[in-house]
Symmetry: C2
Subunit: 234 residues, 2 copies
DNA sequence: TCGCATTTGTACGTATGTATC
DNA sequence: GGATACATACGTACAAATGCG
């Protein structure tokens, strides 16, 4: 991390979560941050802008930089770090129900923007928070991009493996969120009743170069799952 | 709109939606845009950055600026313009079920971050898309900030009234999204069955200066409502 | 109410680094 | 390896909103 503004983003985010601004709910001025980090105005502004995008702070012209209050225990859409990022205090566990390589049929090929018969990792997981059934996840990874996955990796965080081991850079994602009645199978897995509602997120994830490498469908237990979206009007 | 980069944002967004880049799926280079708009590099970069945040485009270092495919008919979380913005082709209508001024009790005062007994506009609306029952909305506006509302305004877009008539600048919002069984009343309004799931968005909206002026709870018909979130990993 | 100091917003210019093709 | 194109970083000037006296 030798990029200055990214280092500053991480540092300020840590400072905020450590609570050192909780009295004033206000950050130092841009001028003060420039001096503290010994960088230019635009470098501080870029770091601040990133934190504004993540929903941690907001700026008021002529007044200062203020903290945004940030509910815990929600799936955060602005800054995705997987379940373990959103639930740092809770115990997370994962049961891998299925893990295999399949060949993309016409429908899957269209979804994954790849050719038919491309090899795809298919993973079905049941995930728990504090030992409660939290969600059922179906995910698909293009094997041309993610050449190897095993039970050990899929029991933990697939994303940190992709990031740290494969050195791939995740860029952006499209999420479609809706509500759907539970099927018999899912209601059993989540210990709910058939026909009750569930919260569903269909996710399509791209690398920074625009390549689609992952799609998934997650069916959440409506009793526990809350999504948080911290957005800006720009 | 005499701010250059905002003008350019609007222009490029129009160009994209008009389809002039649909062949190449690629924007002109930063250099070319600088020349075309006769502005500096940083002004173009700021405009492009805004469009990246809105999920319209993505940049690849060394390669160019590319279009992101953008599903229609969804509630867009990145760039909120109300129902009429998300459903430009459909017919939208609104039935105002209730409109009155109330005094904030302890619970509402906490939610609206105001003092108890502050006057609050309460509005209950049923909204239709193509004559189908789409959602029930309960909204609350702080009367100190939004001093006047009537049936005519609430039948149309409250936000455009706030923006254009009151000249208030909407800054950011927290949305909590979850799934909840329908009550008897809501199932009747939405023509669904009691106990079926519904998609719920609780929204807390702030002005650019950080003042909370609006909270709302929307209960969506799960058969029609889809939310789209176009996010970036930064 | 007015004016001034503070603080963020917009815009320009330049140089160098780094990924892609 | 070279050309192209985006990314990072520095610096400067002035505009606009806020807040205080």
């Amino acid at each position: 991390m030798d990029v200055k503004y990214k280092f500053i983003v991480t540092k300020i985010a840590e400072d905020i979560s450590s609570g050192i601004y909780k009295e004033t709910k206000k950050l130092p001025t841009v001028e003060e941050l420039m001096e503290f980090y010994n960088v230019s105005r635009s470098t501080i502004r870029q770091a601040i802008s990133t934190l504004v995008d993540r929903g941690l702070i907001y700026q008021v012209q002529g007044s200062g930089i203020f903290l945004r209050t940030n509910p815990e225990g929600c799936i955060n859409l602005q800054y995705m770090r997987g379940l373990s990022g959103d639930f740092s205090k809770e115990k997370i566990s994962t049961k891998v129900l299925e893990l295999k390589v399949i060949k993309a049929d016409k429908e899957l090929a269209q979804k994954m923007k790849c050719k038919e018969d491309t090899e795809i990792y298919f993973i079905k997981r049941l995930r728990y928070i504090d030992d409660e059934e939290y969600m059922v996840e179906y995910s698909y990874y293009n094997k041309d991009i993610v050449p190897y996955l095993n039970i050990e990796i899929t029991e933990k965080s697939i994303y940190s493996y992709i990031n740290e081991n494969l050195k791939l850079n995740i860029g952006f994602s499209d999420k479609v969120i809706y509500c759907e009645p539970l099927t018999a199978e899912h209601s059993e897995l989540l210990k709910l009743k058939e026909g009750e509602g569930s919260l569903v997120i269909e996710d399509t994830v791209f690398l920074t170069n625009g390549l689609l490498f992952d799609t998934s469908k997650c069916i959440y237990n409506y009793k526990y799952a809350k999504i948080l979206s911290l957005s800006n009007f720009k």
